[in-house]
Amino acid sequence: MTVTRPIYLDYQSTTPCDPRVLKMMLPYFSEEFGNPHSRSHAYGWKAEEAVEHARKQVAAILHANPREVIFTSGATESNNLALKGVAHFYKDKKNHIVTCATEHKCVLDSCRHLEQEGFKVTYLPVKPNGILDLAELKKAITEQTALVSIMAVNNEIGVIQPLAEIGKITRERGVFFHTDAAQAVGKIPLDVNEMNIDLLSLSAHKIYGPKGIGVLYVRRKPRVRLAALINGGGQERGMRSGTLSTPLCVGLGEACALAQKEMRAEAIRIEALRDRFYETLRVNLEEIYLNGDAKQRIPGNLNISFAHVEGEGLMMGIKELALSSGSACTSASLEPSYVLRALGVDEEMAHTSLRIGFGRFTNEEDVDHAAKLIIKEVNRLRDMSPLWEMSRQGIDIKSIQWAEH
């Protein structure tokens, strides 16, 4: 029996490690096993050389100095380190952080922890297209603000925040600017100097590298100082102790080098696939709505509400596709996506959304097959949906007194 795997359309969740990346990593698990921090013999020197080469590759995609690159375990750790590290180091002078309601959970949760310690946090709203309102940002910054943390690209809806404009504001006001760029690296051009970014988080597994490694970029001029979260041997300029994993560093470096080299061509190819997919849906289905700005968005993301069809129910019918839903029917809370809610999407519409992610290994055959399956299943479930029936009869669903449970 041959088991065919589902078509992978969840590239914002994670990406497969590129075979070219894996090939570069392999020798560092076995022959070149040295500790990159060992200074007294050739094993260590070889490993150190590989790690420093990787650091240069990461710096290059950000237009940063390699000495500003701090290896971590991933973007979650990088975000924790940026927020808590800056807040703790500058706590005697400043006690305020500005972030955004649609940030990744690890940023929001770090902020909650800082609030419990007594820091003040402002959670900026977003416009209905998911983009930050710069006027709101300007208003939120005070004399007490230590850090502004705004994600580069949203993980659910793929919208791109105006990084250069935010950086201009924070630089003028003398406030550090951190951006969670886990979904942005390799998708859009980034330049920490042009954009006045002071701290930037990234993760290898979102860019066809290995899981378990990321980076926090920390600016040297003007210098950003951090209180470390992990103490020990003082590696990574004292900001993140612990022996580096040479193969993981090499994998991240290679993933960055490939992303930098291929980004432009890859973006054009993926955008064409995405547009072909979305157009097929639009021609064949009524009442589908794109969540998040249509233009200011990375090529590989769609987030669509299929009115009157519940997302989890829909996913069950398209088992041949691996993707995720904005409905959180499995969680005990029954609450749909907080990102969609922050855009002002109705709860009922948030329950009908799917996130569809396209990437390096997606092809035309995949998207055509996926579109066909989704159209068939949405039609089947709409025929079964009491809400679809009512909307066809012209009944306004909002006019009904529902018993919320």
Binding site: E310, D346, P386
Partner: protein, 129 residues
């Protein structure tokens, strides 16, 4: 999350999907749940002069477990008297479909739908008499 075989069967081959004429005196309609919570069930029963449910139809907006719960109760309702129908409990639905704890609310909603449909039928008959 893995669904049980019975849930998958009802989801893929739902029984008695459709609508009965809500204006017909012999029909009771129950509409329960809320779009904002991600589950809505519409259950309709058609009762004959001997007080027996001779037909049942449903439509559902929700996850696989919600669709399966409502599909299952339409099967169970047919041939039952109103007094027997009201005895169908969510625990029996959940057990039959092997629903995991996070999906118990789907079976509770199906029980609510039965009660709502019976109530609607009875109200119609009180007002016509």
């Amino acid at each position: 999350m893995a669904y049980s075989e019975k849930v998958i069967d009802h989801y893929e081959n739902p029984r008695n999907v459709g609508a009965l004429d809500a204006k017909d005196d012999a029909v009771g309609t129950g509409l329960v749940g809320a779009p904002a919570c991600g589950d809505v069930m519409k259950l309709q029963i058609k009762v004959n002069d001997r007080g027996i449910i001779e037909d049942a139809k449903f439509k559902a907006f929700g996850c696989g477990s919600a669709i399966a719960s409502s599909s299952l109760v339409t099967e169970w309702l047919k041939g039952k008297s109103l007094n027997e129908a009201v005895e169908i409990k969510n625990t029996a639905i959940a057990q039959h479909l092997s629903l995991p704890p996070v999906k118990i609310h789907c079976s509770m909603l199906a029980e609510d739908a039965i009660r709502a449909a019976i109530r609607d039928y009875k109200e119609k008959h009180q007002s016509t008499k």
